[in-house]
């Protein structure tokens, strides 16, 4: 490599990777290290406690509540998100006019544009409000008594799930749409000649050929939903009644930045990291697709 090239590489890569090291790698290693300490920024000495934080996790009811809520929230939301997104994308693809198709894609994507915290505030104050909220106003038409959507432990998680599907589904509809558009048209035409109806076409052509998109979409959606935080912070006020809206992300936030027990928070965040790693590995194994069109 000549001198000019070497100089160019050094000038660019040294500052960039200094940044990567300080703000991306060091924080990962640092949080790993802090999880073995009793780290509190207000203390002068932070003791090394080895596995104490992790052992404490095993006896922490809050942690298990958060873990359970996170799993329930993520699995249910992602499941319905993908089913609804896939069916919507398929329905949109059935429309003849290009304009109508892009119109519907635009509408479903609108909530993805808005800050999720702003949408959460709108839902918390205007939709889920017990008195005069949109949802209860609609239900009242059918004679259903007012429900305390975010104030009742039985409904809180359901409310967050409905909200999250509404807020996040546009991305996946766009991704599935792109996947469907990518399927060669002659495959559909061949199926049509063979007399396949819409449903058979979906089951025998679209669905199997979307394998790659499906693997990618479900993995990305799972990873992002494990990390959702803003809507819990707004809709589940103070984690909701009986901690019914407590998830790992809110537990990490509270432990680290409200109680300042950063060592313990770091240990919880490592558990979250581990879950995401596991999900990624399992998903990669299950979702192996080895065909090409």
């Amino acid at each position: 490599m000549n001198k000019g090239n070497r100089k160019f590489l050094l000038i660019v890569l040294v500052p960039v990777f200094a940044q990567v090291f300080v703000f991306m790698l060091l924080p990962i290693l640092g949080t790993g290290a802090i999880s073995f300490m009793e780290y509190n920024p207000l203390q002068t000495v932070n003791r090394f406690v080895a596995l104490e934080n992790y052992r404490a996790l095993l006896h922490d009811d809050m942690f298990f509540t958060a873990l359970k809520n996170t799993l329930v929230f993520t699995l249910i939301t992602v499941f319905f998100n993908i089913i609804i997104a896939l069916s919507t994308a398929t329905l949109i693809s059935q429309l003849k006019s290009n304009k109508t198709r892009s119109f519907f894609r635009m509408i479903v994507f609108l909530p993805c544009m808005a800050p999720i915290v702003a949408s959460s505030v709108v839902w918390a104050r205007s939709i889920y409000q017990t008195k005069g909220g949109l949802l209860n106003a609609i239900l009242a038409q059918f004679g259903v008594d007012a429900i305390s959507w975010i104030g009742d432990a039985r409904y809180l998680m359901l409310s967050v799930i409905i909200f999250t599907i509404w807020a996040d589904i546009g991305y996946n509809i766009i991704l599935f749409s792109a996947g469907i558009d990518g399927i060669p048209q002659d495959l559909f035409q061949a199926a049509e000649l063979d007399g396949a109806g819409r449903w058979r076409m979906f089951r025998l052509v679209t669905l199997p050929l979307l394998g790659r998109t499906m693997t990618f979409v479900s993995l990305m959606t799972l990873i992002s939903h494990f990390q959702m935080f803003a809507q819990f912070n707004v809709l589940a006020l103070k984690d909701g009644p009986q901690s019914s809206g407590l998830v790992l992300t809110s537990l990490i936030y509270k432990t680290a930045f409200v109680y300042k027990e950063m060592g313990y928070a770091a240990a919880i965040s490592m558990v979250l990291f581990l879950i995401i790693l596991l999900v990624t590995i399992v998903q990669q194994r299950l979702g192996k697709v080895d065909w090409e069109y």
């Binding site: 590489l9 660019v12 960039v16 940044q19 990567v20 703000f23 991306m24 790698l25 060091l26 924080p27 990962i28 290693l29 640092g30 949080t31 802090i34 919507t88 329905l91 059935q94 429309l95 003849k96 894609r105 479903v108 994507f109 609108l110 544009m113 808005a114 800050p115 999720i116 702003a118 505030v121 709108v122 104050r125 205007s126 939709i127 005069g132 909220g133 949109l134 509404w166 991704l175 792109a178 990618f216 979409v217 990305m220 990390q227 935080f229 803003a230 912070n233 707004v234 790992l248 990490i252 936030y253 680290a256 930045f257 928070a265 770091a266 490592m270 979250l272 990291f273 995401i276 990624t280």
Partner: protein, 279 residues
């Protein structure tokens, strides 16, 4: 003209699909209409019975309250400053490093690239604890720069730009090199124009990421005047817990501009997402 039975059935199926989609679109838009409606209601109406779609008495009081009784323009300025700075810097570093990873070979390159990809998998909840200690340590607590300094490099951006640089025909760069162009000139005159679609998509994602970010501002910013819009809104909402119309007005003021930008550029947005598969 005779319409065949199967054609008529097809038309009916299509009409049915259209109706389902229209209902779904209505469900998606309704919360926004509700927000706008509530934002124009009087405080009295929202306290007594806010369950009418149209305000009984139309008022701009909510908007006046947001714009005059809170530092709204200051919040807007903070958001614009953070988002603008980060987007420009990320586009610059991503394209430059993407170009290097695509066109140069040196020892350790593969390792550095894998390292970058690895950082993409780590959840924010893991890095935020140590990053906070670092940022606090250099005295940036409660400063908007806490949202800027750690955001100079974006692993996904580098990855995306590298993919696009790989597609640039070799001859283009070789001929420029023969004409005596330096690396930076090649970057500026050939690479940047060639990877424009990737940069467009990256600009959108980076913009949305920082414009909508809530977690980082929540951790770093404590004084009201330093907040960015999403954090400011949740603060405003708790401050005005009994004033529904003002809160909805604030939410509308935050969402309407991005919605307009989106509707104007929707083609690019949707192309960008399908192209990169990224949020």
């Amino acid at each position: 003209m005779k319409i065949s039975v199967s054609n008529r059935r097809d038309f009916r199926a299509r009409a049915f699909i259209f109706v389902i989609l229209a209902v779904m679109a209505a469900c998606i838009v309704l919360p926004y209409l509700w927000m706008l409606s509530n934002s124009f209601k009087t405080t009295k109406e929202t306290l007594i019975d806010p369950s009418h779609l149209l305000p009984k008495e139309f008022t701009l009081e909510g908007y006046r309250k947001v714009l005059t009784e809170s530092p709204f323009f200051r919040w807007l300025g903070n958001s614009l400053f953070v988002t603008g700075t980060n987007t420009v810097i990320v586009l610059f570093t991503s394209s430059l490093v993407g170009y290097i990873f695509s066109r140069f070979k040196f020892r350790g390159m593969h390792f550095l690239f894998l390292l970058l990809l690895f950082t993409m998998m780590v959840p924010a909840q893991v890095t935020m604890i140590t990053t906070f200690i670092l940022v606090d340590g250099i005295g940036l607590y409660d400063s908007v720069f806490a949202l800027i300094i750690p955001a100079f490099v974006n692993a996904f951006g580098i990855y995306l730009c590298k993919q696009f640089c790989d597609e640039i025909p070799r001859e283009l760069m070789e001929s420029a090199k023969i004409d005596g162009a330096g690396n930076f000139t090649i970057y500026r005159k050939i690479v940047l124009p060639q990877i424009r679609p990737a940069l467009g998509a990256l600009a959108i994602f980076t913009f949305l990421e920082y414009w909508n970010d809530y977690l980082n501002p929540l951790i770093y910013l404590s004084s009201t005047k330093n907040m960015t819009l999403p954090l400011a809104l949740s603060y405003f909402s708790t401050q005005h817990a009994t004033n529904l119309s003002a809160t909805m007005a604030a939410a509308a003021l935050i969402m309407v501009p991005t919605a307009i930008v989106f509707i104007l550029f929707q083609k690019q947005f949707i192309k960008g997402i399908s192209m990169t598969g990224m949020k």
